[in-house]
Chain length 254, copies 5
Amino acid sequence: MDIWTVIGLVVVTALILMGIMLGSPLIIFFDMTSLLIVVLGSFFILFVAFPIGRVKNTLKVVKKAFKTEPRKADELLALMRQMSTRARREGVLALEDVARTQDDEFLKRGIQMVVDGHDPEAIEDVLYAELDKIEERHKEGSKVFDYITNAAPALGMIGTLIGLVQMLQNLEDPTKIGPAMAVALLTTFYGSCIANIFSMPISEKLQNRSAEELAEKALVAQGLLSILSGESPRFLVDRLNVQLPPSERFQEAS
Amino acid sequence: MDIWTVIGLVVVTALILMGIMLGSPLIIFFDMTSLLIVVLGSFFILFVAFPIGRVKNTLKVVKKAFKTEPRKADELLALMRQMSTRARREGVLALEDVARTQDDEFLKRGIQMVVDGHDPEAIEDVLYAELDKIEERHKEGSKVFDYITNAAPALGMIGTLIGLVQMLQNLEDPTKIGPAMAVALLTTFYGSCIANIFSMPISEKLQNRSAEELAEKALVAQGLLSILSGESPRFLVDRLNVQLPPSERFQEAS
Amino acid sequence: MDIWTVIGLVVVTALILMGIMLGSPLIIFFDMTSLLIVVLGSFFILFVAFPIGRVKNTLKVVKKAFKTEPRKADELLALMRQMSTRARREGVLALEDVARTQDDEFLKRGIQMVVDGHDPEAIEDVLYAELDKIEERHKEGSKVFDYITNAAPALGMIGTLIGLVQMLQNLEDPTKIGPAMAVALLTTFYGSCIANIFSMPISEKLQNRSAEELAEKALVAQGLLSILSGESPRFLVDRLNVQLPPSERFQEAS
Amino acid sequence: MDIWTVIGLVVVTALILMGIMLGSPLIIFFDMTSLLIVVLGSFFILFVAFPIGRVKNTLKVVKKAFKTEPRKADELLALMRQMSTRARREGVLALEDVARTQDDEFLKRGIQMVVDGHDPEAIEDVLYAELDKIEERHKEGSKVFDYITNAAPALGMIGTLIGLVQMLQNLEDPTKIGPAMAVALLTTFYGSCIANIFSMPISEKLQNRSAEELAEKALVAQGLLSILSGESPRFLVDRLNVQLPPSERFQEAS
Amino acid sequence: MDIWTVIGLVVVTALILMGIMLGSPLIIFFDMTSLLIVVLGSFFILFVAFPIGRVKNTLKVVKKAFKTEPRKADELLALMRQMSTRARREGVLALEDVARTQDDEFLKRGIQMVVDGHDPEAIEDVLYAELDKIEERHKEGSKVFDYITNAAPALGMIGTLIGLVQMLQNLEDPTKIGPAMAVALLTTFYGSCIANIFSMPISEKLQNRSAEELAEKALVAQGLLSILSGESPRFLVDRLNVQLPPSERFQEAS
């Protein structure tokens, strides 16, 4: 679990609550109607904007933002190096044994294509087509949150306009103007909180997770293509190493 | 019919109406002049911005957002696989029989070009040129709604400025200030509702539908090119499968 | 003449005027100083932002938004098909006769290059280089209007700030506050109207006209290249047809 | 000198001053502190945002917006045509004489590379690499002004917030509220003026000048490559002509 | 140390403080709760938006904005020229001696690949893949600051909304309205300052530093590839020189 996402959410929420409670009881920031307009509104507008399948997927996608996927670039390079050495000594068919010991579907399918002796260019096509599609699906996930980031403050403003119009039509009792306007502002407040504390950072995290996952898969793809073209294991390591930050690079045990 | 688009629109509209009616009679949110400025204005400005053909097309395009086009990727892959097998055994001319059983114009025209024995590169050109043009036409459809998303709130603000100027020129009777300003705000309210509840989500849905349709057509194009280059049916399935989400992939009946 | 552009402009302007006149005399929305700041300001700032040639061109460009250029895709395809048949039967030199009967400079120059027997790749280069440059010049035209769309409301806000500062320095007579602020808001009103009713939709129309014109010229270019590479007239029609919406496609008279 | 840039700046500034002076003495729009915050602030923030070399360059870059660089496309084409004819008759070495009569460094260096007999592809690389770098340096110039366009209004708003907070803490004397708020608004006014009358149009002009200069240099590059590949002078003229607006095209003296 | 970044930050901060202190004691601009919401909030929201590794990296990245990395293009070209001459005379193996005298890892690794006799195309791939990845890592650094630029004002507005709602619920004592609203505005003030004086210019500086570093590394990469393809030292200098501003170009000592 990515504890830091939770810590971030908890601390920022606590700061907002503290900001409220130091000045007034929390209850004046609660208005059921406003809450329904902004929260339910931001949710049901997704039904109009996205195919139902992607709305249903949203919950699953949120979970991803809370999961740690430790980067195993180091290990991965060791594996690719070993595969390269073996392919050179025993031929690519030997890689089938490696495939059996691995969990990652992308790697296994890639090895299988190499072993099957397909045309290298066709393999490259397929590997990169899959990367493109994975990126596209990831983007579909974060776009739902980007939509909420736009829709929630907009619905908040619609709610505030409703409150303002009602207040302005009804100015006789001056003591009610303040509280009426306070309530009118709550929808804007809710909309801002949803956008800035929930959907915008979650979308950003999903995009970052996606970039990490794709970078890792790109290493696998490039490693396989390097093996396929018969490059030396050492050059394969060079090729992949330069794509990692210096601190994560694979060191040849010498 | 895509019932979810309707549900989304109904629920969000109901939330807004509820927000209004819990605080005041609905009638104070109705002002004919404001409505005409925003609704007719947002419509007639389209005549200036777009060729008349595209404005006329708008209604047809809206309907698309309410139609379900179930993705039949699974079936499609089965068909492509069968075509590939047949082309290998009986030659590409046999595909003409397949073309006769299919409804999809894009697929039929593609098969015809293969059967006619045109240059593979030229066929690739034509297939992808059509995909590009379909995408372009889809974008033309959603751009009209994007334009409304900008124009409606802008016209709303123009209407509100008119109301404000009139109110400020006429401050003698303080009891009228409130209601006058309330009415002035209505155009902004209408503009926000049109943009955020109607045109923005519809545009997003159209873009998503377009992406789905293009992804499906791209599978057809790639399948045909794979058949043309004589790849094995199994590799064709691999090639197309990696472009689908894992849950929708075609499973070889073995 | 594109009557719809005129209708759109007239109706939207009428709606605004109606919105004003139902509530007050039109005269209170007229302030010469404000008008000069926004209208002249938006015009003269173009002298700073663009080379003088492009400012002078603006009027000519506006006219384009009011001109109908009926798409003649259908006719064009018939012509290309006929040229293709003739080139196959009589050789490309016979196209010189066709060139003489045509008005379109782009088409004539293209045929000339084909007849002159230049290298096909060089011809492709030249045709597409011209398309790129036409697109660039069209963009230069619409960018001037995009600039006005930004500048007019900004100058409006500067005018409003001037009015606000003057009013705030001079609050002694409360009866003057309202009218002073009303006048201050007029520059913002003028700026919004110029941007949203004039420059933004005109820019959009120009871009749409540009896209239509380029799509047509691209058909010509592709047709010529198809003739040059000796493709069959029927395939040429296929090639071009897929780029048209289904309703506009060329039907072989059979 | 590009007199139109000066005219534009003078007229727009005069309109603003007129707008002020018709309503109040000019002096109430002058506040030294506000001016320092916005003007010095917008300048010194550049030290944080850009390497010092680019800040120092800013003044030199501004001058460019006031310089006229008449497009000499016509002359240039005549020169390229003559070079092409000569290269065909006397060989490319003869171009060295032409180089000596020219001022333009880009052209001279290009001719030199042709004369030196380098690999055509390498020459193409070098010519386009230089064009890319020139464009990059031009963009670096206009980006400084784009930064000011964002920073000046933001600093204006910070200044206004300072004024508002001070006024709100000090509401006892109602007669001071107006003037205090007027002064607070001045920073926003200054920020808007700097952004909309100075930095935004200057940045746009610089970008337009850059596009003109690059288009001219691209003609030179393409002309040289055409000569190098032995194309006929007439085709060279066609090749370059299509990239000019019809009114500026080179007419063969026949 | 890049003293100019410090000077810029100090001067702009001093201008703001001066703006405050000329009108009121500094203390009224200090509110602990507001400060915590904006500063801690903008920091902890990064935990939600970015992987923890990148948040931790932020401090290291900030330092980069204060470091001067003098461009040594001149020296670099001299070195490349000398390497080219030597490689021509003594063969590429002689470059190994050069590698030993250099610090730059990118250059050393590049020379090593050349000496090892790898395929030139593969070397090109690896060099540019590393450049791409370096650019990506640089962008990851500046994106954190771009995020703060959005989040700080948004949290400021949330804080201001809290203050406004509390004030509006509590209008009985009119003398408290002003100060309450003043405090409410402080979060917006803090948010604006963080965004415009800290995170936005720092992000811009980081992007500029990144561009400089990459341009230098691109020179190394192109120089190595030129050596590898056996181009003359003089052409190598031409090739690299055109990518520098005229004032920084390498002059052959003749």
